[in-house]
Symmetry: C2
Amino acid sequence: MDSPSSPPSSAPLRRRATGRATLNDVALAAGVSAITASRALRGARAVDPVLVEKVQVAALQLGYVPDPAARALASARSSHVAVLIPLLSNALFVELLEAVQRTLAPAGYQTLMGVTHYQAAEEEALLRSYLAHRPAGLLVTGFDRSEAARQMIARSGVPCVHLMETAATPGVYGVGLSQLDAARTITEHLLQRGRRRIAYVAGQLDTRVMQRAEGYRAALRDAGCYNPDLEVLDPSPTSMALGGQLLESLLARRPDVDAVFFCNDDLAQGGLLAALRLQVAVPGRIAVVGFNDLAGSDQMLPPLTTIRTPRAEIGTQAATMLLALMRGEPVLHSTVDLGYQLVVRSSS
Amino acid sequence: MDSPSSPPSSAPLRRRATGRATLNDVALAAGVSAITASRALRGARAVDPVLVEKVQVAALQLGYVPDPAARALASARSSHVAVLIPLLSNALFVELLEAVQRTLAPAGYQTLMGVTHYQAAEEEALLRSYLAHRPAGLLVTGFDRSEAARQMIARSGVPCVHLMETAATPGVYGVGLSQLDAARTITEHLLQRGRRRIAYVAGQLDTRVMQRAEGYRAALRDAGCYNPDLEVLDPSPTSMALGGQLLESLLARRPDVDAVFFCNDDLAQGGLLAALRLQVAVPGRIAVVGFNDLAGSDQMLPPLTTIRTPRAEIGTQAATMLLALMRGEPVLHSTVDLGYQLVVRSSS
DNA sequence: CTGAAAGCGCTTACAG
DNA sequence: CTGAAAGCGCTTACAG
């Protein structure tokens, strides 16, 4: 590293001493070359176990910590994984993110979070910015994105796993569940309880919400009960307040409705509270169900029937799959379907 | 993006062509030296406006994106800011985080999030790991941490701003509010409404929760109503379910209580639902108040009286302060108190 | 299984 | 206001 033949007369001066031990210091202390120290520490390639031991001891004694920037520059791979989620205000994505981070951190990867707000343009901007950092991997939510975003991902060559949905496209990696099947299941549950005029009340209207709408429709068509007039599709962001409003206007317009399937628990919780306020008996007059089983749904009055989605497990498995891809290990199943669970409580 | 003039075949072989334009390519195209291009692009030091223009045009044409790793290695400063929060399951911290990121991202900094779970050991581990990445700045929650953590921060020399609380320690930067004053205010509100047997029901018991307890005690002592028997301090993580349980056992033990101050809205929302379930009139028999004004509190039955904390503003201002510190700009006030707001709804 | 050389793409510090 | 030189701390690719 230091060429011994540069006599600048006065100062030996390493220009900016960082104070920290470098790989060279470790190599020197262990009596090996820098590259051997590097290999010993990374566990890459075969190195004489005796030397590995020596290097590890030296590293420990010197308190050596590899410099991520140097490593990234030399290897053209950073230790960052970018994770793009639509929203942070939805507990679902927060749990997903936490599970991802819990899996990636021990493997030495840093999570870079990006929030798209369900906007294609924001997703593109985030992708552009994060891809410039040459992340080692990418985790994105769902399959629905702009063609530009899709191409950026493809061209970057960065391994990418899709969260939350399942798709059979070969070469595309994903971990999730069938939103359609889950919605069909909970709708069938309502049918089995004898409900016939079942409304679907949705906000946000992102892809997954619309996939749920399809499941709802399929179940009702099969039962000969489908009525488009009972679909309430509002593009506003979901919230408890919106759930209450939508329920109230639905009841005013269609007093004969006997069940409401809210596209998520936020909306459903608000709907339940509005029913309480309006003195609409649940499940006496209307049954109410939600989707996701978020915190609080079991505390409602009455407790909410819903679909439990395995978001933590999705995060963990997606991160694990990404880890394999980043290491160049074979991934047997490019799509993993983690299923869902119907949680029947007293609201239906 | 693709350099149009890459000489093929007889390749002078840059060993690992990344394909991306480098600063040198930009400099060449602009007819200046690399260092001038660097300065022109960063806006550092004075550069002839004519040259700046040329460099910018060249950079644009070549689709030049600076390599963060190279920059970090050369300058010994990364573009990362580490943000340590206790929990992701509390909407408060999520909003804080989002505000921080929204402020930092446009300034070119990446946010590295860490979750401590209120554990000193986890915070130390995160600090150790993140500090190895030489972050440009640090954002931590509150002032309460282990001596080891404190020293790591101090020794690192990395600019650090503390979130959520206010403290007058010189040289220590913080943006927040007085948890004690806010708790005192809402307790006084209950006193003004004629309540006398006011309970404080808390979970988690982190520093801020205990500061609120102090505010509660101070207000009650001033009014001559303080009764330690009305304090319910449970170390469990807070949740709606816990709020319900704690209210129920409190009412069983002290049926004479006429108001309950829950340490946060999670607990209070659960308490309100439990009261509904138990047919305890609110505010008829007991008044109920919370803290933070989280989503849903305005939708409860009855809507919850609470303290609105300016967490988004705290995140924004803390990030802004950190930006100044990272740039070496003077920061006039090392502590910023953003206050709070008493939101009176029907539960009190 | 091990190493000498080169270089990743920037910025620092020093001159002019 | 501008630039030639050196080097940040690693890893790649090539030999042996």
